[in-house]
Amino acid sequence: MYWNYLVILICVLAFIFSVIKEYRRKNKQRLWLRVVASIVAIAALAALTLPITYWSETSRNDNEAVLLTAGFNADSLTKYKNDSVYTFNDTIKQLYPKAKLITVSQLKNITPTLSAVHLLGYGLSPDELSQINNVSVIFHPAPVPYGITSANWPEKLKQGQHFVVQGKFNHTNGNPVRLVLKELNTTTDSTTVEHEGIESFQLTSLPKNTGKIINRLIAIAGKDTLENEPLPFLIEPIIHIKVLVLTSSPGFESKFLKNWLSEQGFEVAVRSTISKDKISTQFVNTPQVPLTQLSASVPDKFDVLISDLAALISLNQTESASLKQQVSQNGLGLIIKADTVFKTPVLLQNDFSIYQPADKDQPLSPQIQNAKLTAKIPITGQQFITDKEDMQTLASDAQHRVLAAMTISGTGKVVCTTLNETYKWMLAGDKDDYSAYWSLLIAKAAKSAPQSENWSVVTPFPTVNARITIQLQTATQPGAILMDNERASPIQNALSPFQWQSSWWPLWPGWHIIKHTAGSVEKPVYVYDKNDWADIKAVNKIIATQKYASDSTLSGVTKQIHGKVRIPVSKAYFYALLLLCCAFLWAEGKMAPK
């Protein structure tokens, strides 16, 4: 728009200049003719640079065209013999030489204006669709491609967590397809898809590596590799949690828990009552603090408090009030080990109720969330938690009787468990079970770790040579964002002042590093190659194009009634005019007597 004004301004200046020049000219013969010629020449010059259009009624005849996209079927083109065929893609041009290769803007400017475009194949990407926004589209989608049509996996994991990839496979023929999950070129899990139709799958592995990892998902039919797709994700280092353990008496449970946590570098403090008004305190990897009285400042220093019920009951009023405050307002995690004194629960009266079923002779095999443990617990005297609505079950037995559960209390979380002899698992050699169980409980309860900045990629499947939008959440002003050391200034979200967005077009696939000039965190972003996850991209295109097509048919009705269209005026006329005027001015100068 500025360009137009600039051109007009320059032309006006040139016009004034030329008029003044003409006026001052000694030879006043044919002065007015020369002035008119100058005006016309400058106007023609301006018209050459400015887009001059006029409105015209569209011809009501059905001027339709066919646009081919990837996945089209050449046989379906017989229906559109009379229509001209276009494509945006040069590989389609090679496949179907009759198609004319054009750009998006060219499609919009085809004259006479197209009344509708038949879109064949998988359709267009949202980016392309936003560019052809005026064109009315009739979409004839290609069938959903044979292959992996959806996949989901975590973008970030912590060490020791399982990597789970879930997805759907569109199976169109009867040959069994093997889906293999590979980690560092080693098969860690596989499954077979046999039935026709869309079948879902899930593959799991426990990554050994840390940092930036690319697992691969391979679909094999017989000897053919159908797909070999990357599954990039990050394994982040452990953030150490500070744990405070309260016990009403010294015991193996707290001792084993302390040893297990401290050998992994966690900060642990244990307070156990050993006699009347006498406590024993142990601190590992953390400086000593007075724990005789649980003043308000003490729980604040920790992320999780693990306590047995008796120890909670023995707290005095100020202590329990401050603890409650810490849990509900500061997000302190509380793990309560329920024991026989369950009749008088103190801190969180209504959250958990505990019952003890009649004994059976078989030992129980507990399971945590979806993983089964090999460790056994004796049934004798085992208590369970009554299942409730606002409660998340963390551990249960095979009959789904709850052994550990979590609820939310204000900003904090409260976990209750009735397993009081887990140290026996450690003694029996089931260290993995012990680790898995306590990792889950502590992770669920722990106060969330504060983060100075939080990066995320908005674009699904960020692809090379395509626009990628990234989002940053930070409390501090980010300055410039560096993407592969290219500077860009982010846009601040109008409603959430801590959200910033920026976008960029990566030039090569693989891991890219983004960070901001004021920040310390380097966020690796994986950019996919153009051919990665082609089937999922095709499905996404179909969905986007279908939505666009249904929208355009709705608005297309009104468009047909108005039927007015801008038509650009050919530049040739202006060239001729300019030439004519210039020629006259030149010839007049030559002809004038000296």
Partner: protein, 709 residues
């Protein structure tokens, strides 16, 4: 007219020549197939020789057949002989018409008409062709069958040869300077394995083998050396003037890999796979781990053992230990027993047998024999079995149940009595010659009575019936006649009941003491019997045994209490049960546990780096350092387990050298190896990250809470 008949003769001739040529071709082809097949099987000649062979044979046939000599006259002759209707006149057709006389003219006309009826082809012509065709077809079938079999056979034979030549058909990449290599592997003499020669660098042998390399280069080189496991440099010595022959020898003790370096140019890595000599394996078939020989059984053990080793057993021995006595007084005696088998031949397996006579080893009832077999192989490696135990039953302790404490003191004066009986008996034996017969008998009988009394006294301890119990109630001391007791059933019952073996009467001995007491009483019975038979000499052993048992009882009832020197301080009664803990310290413990360094961190970063490697154009110095560290770790693993990690070590070298040709497969190989080396990840508790939202959500929560209130 004439020309038509002439034509007929020409046609017949052509047909004849054609059939014969075809027949010859068939026969020639048959011979060719046979000949080429034989040549192929025997000499391995190519099947392409078939073409010249066929041409030669066919040519010979044509020359032999001389078909060009078959002219029309001959055909006319044949027709004359074959068809009587021609009346032997067909040669008239071949004559010039002008030369014929009238009769001949007439005959010609007749023959011309007849010859028109004669067919062109004849059965006789095709006879050879048919025969030839049958030959050709059958030989062809035969040939195909043989070729099929032959291919099958040769395939299987080549396969078996491959198996013989080497277990790893891995292609070796050798330096271009190397013209030839001769590796001689001499296994150690004790293995009795044959010397091996090979032209490969990959070595597969047994521990301690001597390997000699003879390397011939095609150009003179300055220096050749072998580098073992990436660190141990081992130079080769030159053995000729032109500096092209290099030799070295080395004893190989462990698996690993090596490379040849010619003038600082390193070769590929070659594997060294060493099989360790296993120690001998001993299986004892009999006796069982614990053998108990009951009284009355033959005190001997039949030992059967199988000793095997991978190269040869040079010795095997039984190491026996005899344990005598019990408690603190156990004495051990060790001795070696050799098998009767001779181990001179050092066979791989020996079936050993030995019968051990226990009394010969000095074993008595109650003693135990501990033994194990130790075998030595010809590489002086020892192995031994578990300890086996043989024990002989002790009749004296038949009923003994040790381990149950007895707190009851057996009074010592009783034992003196038994000793007294022995002393008296011995005195009686001494005085036997000086005493009268009747006197001797009386004294012997008196001793018997004493022995009986003593026995009865001990019997009381066991609740045995006493002599008094058996007395007739009607005699003295009969209290039943008291009239006040009339109708007292309990009293009558009490009076007439034989109350022996009353458990209430018995003292509370523990079972072991009771058992021993019973054994003692038995001995006393026997001693009494001999004394009553006036044989004090015979009674003595039983008396002695009874005494020994009693002594033993006495020993058993003793218990040891150590003297202590602890004097507790007097209690302050005013402080007792007051619950005052003021002076008790509150224990506070503080420790810092150092986090273990992750040995695999560099390997992990290398794995991440390798995944991006195919896309990177060049490595920066930091990346190179990471790869180098990973390379070192893989090399160390390859030195220990070359079978698993050598390929990865090779691939890593190529990657480090910037070899782009096989980069993707190399990266895959190294990745697999790294995945194998990395330990499994341990779960650890992790905090959820919070949103960095300037405290927005928390403020919202607090506000919400406030308004709800």
């Amino acid at each position: 007219m004439n020309s038509g008949a002439l034509n007929k003769i020409k046609q017949v001739r052509q047909r004849y020549v054609l059939y014969h040529l075809l027949a010859d071709a068939c026969v020639a082809a048959t011979i060719t197939i046979g000949a080429v097949l034989v040549l192929n099987i025997l000499l391995g000649a190519s099947f392409f020789y078939a073409v010249p062979v066929f041409l030669i044979i066919f040519g010979l046939f044509i020359i032999n057949r001389r078909l060009w000599l078959i002219n029309d006259t001959a055909v006319a002759g044949f027709l004359d002989s074959a068809y009587p209707e021609l009346e032997e006149s067909s040669n008239l057709l071949l004559m010039e018409a002008t030369e014929l006389n009238l009769l001949q003219q007439l005959q010609l006309n007749k023959v011309s008409a007849a010859i028109d009826q004669i067919p062109v082809s004849h059965q006789a012509f095709t006879k050879r062709l048919r025969l030839g065709a049958i030959f050709l077809v059958s030989v062809s079938f035969l040939a195909f069958a043989i070729i099929g079999l032959n291919v099958h056979w040769s395939k299987s034979s080549t396969l078996s040869i491959q198996n013989n030549t080497g277990k790893n058909p891995v292609k070796e990449v050798i330096l271009p300077e190397v013209r030839s290599v001769n590796v001689t592997i001499t296994p150690p003499s004790y293995t009795h394995l044959a010397k091996q020669e090979q032209d490969k660098f990959t070595i597969e042998t047994v521990e301690g083998a001597t390997v000699t390399w003879k390397l011939t280069t095609n150009i003179p080189v300055k220096k050749v050396s072998l580098v073992f496991n990436g660190k141990e440099v081992f130079p080769l010595t030159n053995s000729n003037d032109s500096q092209s022959k290099w030799t070295a020898w080395k004893t190989v003790d462990s698996s690993g890999f090596y490379q040849v370096i010619i003038d600082d140019k390193p070769s590929d890595l070659y594997q060294v796979q060493v099989t360790k000599d296993a120690p001998p394996v001993i299986q004892i078939r009999t006796p069982k781990q614990y053998t108990y020989i009951d009284a009355g059984e033959k005190p001997q053990v039949n030992m059967q053992a199988l000793v095997t080793d991978d190269y040869g057993v040079s010795d095997a021995m039984i190491y026996a230990t005899v344990a005598k006595g019990s408690g603190e007084a156990v004495k051990f005696k060790e001795q070696k027993i050799s098998f009767s088998t001779s181990f001179n031949q050092t066979l791989r397996s020996y079936n050993l047998q030995k019968t051990i006579d226990l009394p010969a080893l000095g074993l008595e009832p109650g003693d135990e024999l501990y033994f194990y077999i130790q075998a030595r192989d010809n590489h002086a490696q020892l192995s031994r079995t578990d300890v086996y135990i043989v024990s002989i039953q002790d009749t004296a302790q038949l009923m003994s149940m040790d381990g149950i404490l007895s707190g009851i003191n057996i009074k010592p004066e009783y034992f003196r009595s038994e000793r007294q009986i022995i002393l008296d008996a011995e005195a009686l034996i001494k005085a036997k010659d000086t005493l009268k017969e009747a006197n001797f008998r009386d004294r012997s009988n008196d001793l018997g009575t004493d022995q009986k009394l003593l026995r009865l006294r001990y019997g009381k301890f066991l609740g045995e019936e006493a002599e008094g119990n058996i007395a007739d109630p009607r005699l003295e001391g009969n209290t039943l006649s008291d009239p006040t007791d009339f109708g007292n059933g309990a009293k009558i019952k009490d009076e007439y009941t034989d109350k022996h073996d009353n458990a209430e009467d018995a003292q509370f001995f523990d079972p072991s003491v009771k058992a021993q007491l019973k054994a003692t009483l038995t001995e006393m019975w026997k001693a009494e019997l001999q004394l009553r038979l006036y044989k004090p000499q015979e009674a003595l052993p039983f008396a002695y045994k009874a005494l020994r048992l009693l002594k033993d009882l006495q020993q058993k009832s003793r218990s040891y209490v150590a003297k202590t020197a602890f004097n507790p301080s007097p209690l302050k009664m005013e402080k007792r049960l007051s619950g005052d803990l003021d002076k008790i310290m509150q224990p506070a413990d503080h420790q810092d546990i150092k986090q273990q360094h992750d040995n695999f961190s560099l390997l992990k970063s290398a794995a991440s780096l390798l995944q991006q490697l195919p896309r990177l154009n060049s490595l920066n110095s930091n990346d190179y350092r990471i790869l180098q560290a990973a390379n070192l770790q893989i090399n160390n693993q390859a030195a220990v387990k070359p079978g698993i990690y050598l390929d990865a070590a090779k691939a890593m070298r190529r990657i480090m050298a910037g070899d782009k040709k096989s980069l993707i497969t190399d990266v895959a190989t190294v990745e697999t190896a790294i995945q194998k080396m990395l330990p499994a990840a341990q779960p650890a508790p992790q905090a959820q990250p919070s949103a960095s939202d300037m405290g927005f959500s928390k403020a919202y929560f607090l506000k919400l809470k406030h308004t709800n209130r």
